[in-house]
């Protein structure tokens, strides 16, 4: 079954997002940082969508996306960035890394369940 990978160094955000998604019948796995996320993506082919923070220790979110595309050679995986800031420079980097879009925090669950389910197929 298709899963969502939630990558955030903040346990609060991880819990909030994953609890919400699980409550709406969407399976979830979590990762603490980009490095962790990259490993999970590599090992779990059920992950069909990644919702990731940008600023994280060890490896930031955008670097993770770039590595998913580059090292893992996975161009099909949908990635949505969860962020508090969005500027043209970041957007540009995200676009070239194939980021599907940006969710600005705070995460408003109700509006996005349908879209997330659509992305999971």
């Amino acid at each position: 079954m298709a899963k969502v990978l939630v990558v955030d160094d903040s346990a609060t955000v991880r819990n909030e997002v994953s609890t919400f998604l699980t409550g709406n019948g969407i399976q979830c796995v979590v990762a603490n940082d980009g490095q962790d996320g990259l490993k999970k993506v590599q090992s779990d082919s059920d992950i069909k969508l990644v919702i990731s923070d940008v600023n994280m220790p060890v490896m930031d979110g955008l670097t993770m996306v770039e590595k998913i595309r580059g090292e893992l050679n996975n161009s099909a995986l949908n990635v949505i960035m969860l962020t508090t800031e969005s500027n043209p420079k970041m957007k540009e980097r995200g676009k070239s890394a194939g980021v599907k879009g940006w969710i600005v925090k705070p995460f408003n669950g109700d509006a996005v369940v349908g879209s997330i389910k659509k992305l999971l197929g």
């Binding site: 949505i80 962020t83 508090t84 800031e85 969005s86 500027n87 043209p88 957007k91 599907k100 879009g101 940006w102 969710i103 600005v104 408003n108 509006a111 996005v112 349908g114 879209s115 659509k118 992305l119």
Partner: protein, 955 residues
Amino acid sequence: MLVSIRKKLIVKVNTILISSFLAILAVIVVLSYLDSQTQLSRVTEFIRSSLVAKAQTLVINNSFALKGMAEDNAFTAVQELVSTTVQRDLDITYGIFMDIDNVAWVSAAANGDEVDVTSGEELTDENSLWVSELEEFDYRDVEYNGGRVIEFASPVIVDDEILGFIRYGVSTEALVIALSEENNRSTQLLIRTLAILLAFNAIAVLVGAYLVRKMAWGITKPIGLLNSEAEVIASGNYDSKVEVDSNDEIGQLAVNFETMRVVVKKKIEDLAKINLAGENLAKITVQQKAFEEVLLALKSQCGASLVEVILNKDGVWSLAYDNTGQDSISDISKQLTIKGEYGRQIHFFEDVKTELGVSSADSTAALIVPLKDNAKLLGFIVLSGSDGNLHFNESDMEFCQSLARLLVITLNKITMMEVIEEQNRTLEAKVEERTAELQEKTNDILSMMQNMHQGLFTIMPNENIHHEYAAHCETIFGTKDIAGRNFMDLLFKEATLGSNELDQISTAANALLGEDEMMWDFNSHLLTTEYERVRSDKTSQYIELDWDPIILEGVIDKIMVTVRDVTNLRALQAEAEQQKIELEIIGHILSISEKDFESFINTSFEFIEKCEWLIKDNKSRDLDVVASLFRNMHTVKGNARTYGFTHITDSVHEVETTYDSIRKDESVPWDQEQLLSELEQARNDILRYQRISEEQLGRGKSGSNSGGIIIDENALQGVVNAFEKLKSMQMPDDVIKALTASYKLLESVNGRSLDDVLENVKKSANSISKELGKPSPDIAVNDGGVLFTTKSEDTLVNVFNHLIRNSLDHGLEKPEIRESLGKPPVGNIAIEARTSGSDVSLVIYDDGKGLPINKLRSKVSESKGQKIADALSVHEIANTIFESGTSTASEVTNVSGRGVGMEAVKAFIKGVGGDIKINLHEQKPAEEGFCMFEVEVVLPRNFYHEAPEWIKKSA
């Protein structure tokens, strides 16, 4: 590399000539040589045979001569004979006689003129041995002194005894010399013959070469001429005539060449004409002009006095063009259309009279050129004239065909152009129409943008505002600096929003613009929809915003923002809200007595004042103080709740909660300022009640009443009771009338008829019926002269709302069912008020299907068991509808059917001291399992005023 035919001819013929002479020469030489050799050998053979014959004779003679000499051993005689013989004959080289023992008696050799004789030696040479074996004459070739000789030998036999051998060597030298002479002679002869032959040869070759050269020249000269003519033609000049005077094949070739030149020249001229016609036709867009052009070319080629174009239009032959302007088809053409098959190919009629049966003075000949589009015959061209001015030959065939093809192509092109032009015109018209529509729409939009009374603009990907925006934006924001400005700057520069919220809006917009449309779902909730703005004059402005994405190919291209200035609306809303609250408060105040209200206000203020002092006196938390604060506010809250003063309870409850949390939770701080401010809010809420009581109701202020009086209910009741006592008194009618009027006036202050009370209920019955898809019922209310007290109105409304709803939903059938049962389509509901003793009964019944007794019984049986159910009377079963969970409706509707209704109604009525029950009308006809019934509501005396009997009578 070009090698001329002449050169080739000369070289070839000369080569043949010379080589044949050489071959003949060689044959002659070989034959001469062979002949001389044969001659030589024959001569050699002849000489040799005559030599042999001579020598044989000599030797045999000698052998006879020697017989006696040898017998006599006449040694000298033998020597004499032999040497003489050698000496005499020049041909004899040597002569030998040897005895049987091979001892030479004589061995004479010719040595020039001398004869050298030796004897006495035994001969042992090979030749001598060969001789010693002979028994008769023989000869053979031998070597002698380096030359060749023939040795002739014969034994000398006497009486069969060989006494010796005579031997002579005859030289062949003379023979050889003779032969060599002969050979030389014949060789010389051969050389001479060859020399003569060579001389003849040379002469013959020279003469031959000359003749060959001359002949080659004669042959190649016309070819050269023809070649140079061909070069001229090849260079593109077809005008120079080919003239070669030769009676052979070359001459013929030249004639053909000239014919070809003429034909090619004509074809080229034809081609030029066709090209010119083609060029002209390409520019022509009108059919008539195309005909003119083609016919002009045809006329120039073939002559003709009359030209016509006949076209077949939908099976009818019609004249499309002619050069006479007669507008009628000529006889020739008529005849051609009748004999349709002539139109299939180009045909020249040399004599139209015999071939077509048309006689005309001007036109004796006619040329018909069909116009074909692939296999389809469109029509034909007719050229006619007298034999003199109309001419046609095979070489004109292609020209005419080409022109006909050109004309067909041009006609098709013109047709096509007309179609295209028509389409273009349609297209242009459509484009114009669309442009106009677009212009109109644009104008409309611009006009809307100019005149709409709300702000509207779009945010471009760079977060700036698009230059086309609704003019009202300028009014709202008080600036003309809008186009191209950053939307955050325009919208929120003077906003009272916090920086965090502003940052969220800006970030969200950034995360939306240019991104997947899905992002709208994720982020649009961050875009604020209302905010306050402080204008330059320090006044507040309230703005409402709508944000909508403009999607282009799945991507948010722009964001459309609708801006409304809701400042005035807000003010009105606030005012309306205020008024609503005030009205509610008025209701609250009026619901209790003035005295109670005053006492509530006074005590409340006292408690609040106490609290205020307690808070002010204590800089830190003191549990006793908090406890007393809590108690005070709890009392205020309790009082407010008792009276239903909901606009006080909220704030008081809040204060009480704060005190409670301070009391229970040490971590809650003792914040004097905060506490006082909360208390102030509560005080204000109470003050509002007091203010409304004074200002709106004029209470608490003497002399402020106007327009009416307040009648105490008890006092009124007293007056009403007093009327009761008057009934035994005899009074004049006038008095009764006055009293009745007075009574009614008083009653009307405090009571209303059932009809009036249920007016709204009846209205709502109509809308419920509509909801149920049934017509509005006729509701007949018989108030029985009973006036209900104001207090009872709510109860009546609640109860009858419910009962009527039940009746509409479960009782009255749909009109079609009603009609099938013989009932009027519109249902009837009757409500009657009846007084009995101290109570009033209100009865409601309808002409629906009645109560489902059987169903109710099975319900009871389900819940309590068959036995109990069977034991109950019909009346008791009917009254189970007041028990919990009894609804027989198989379908839960919006209106009723959840099985709690009647139970609640009963509980409610019991609560006000009344009762409710079902009375069955078993005598009325009803469906199987159903029973007609009425619901009787009994209300206590305090619900109504009943007019005294005497007043009722007089009324």
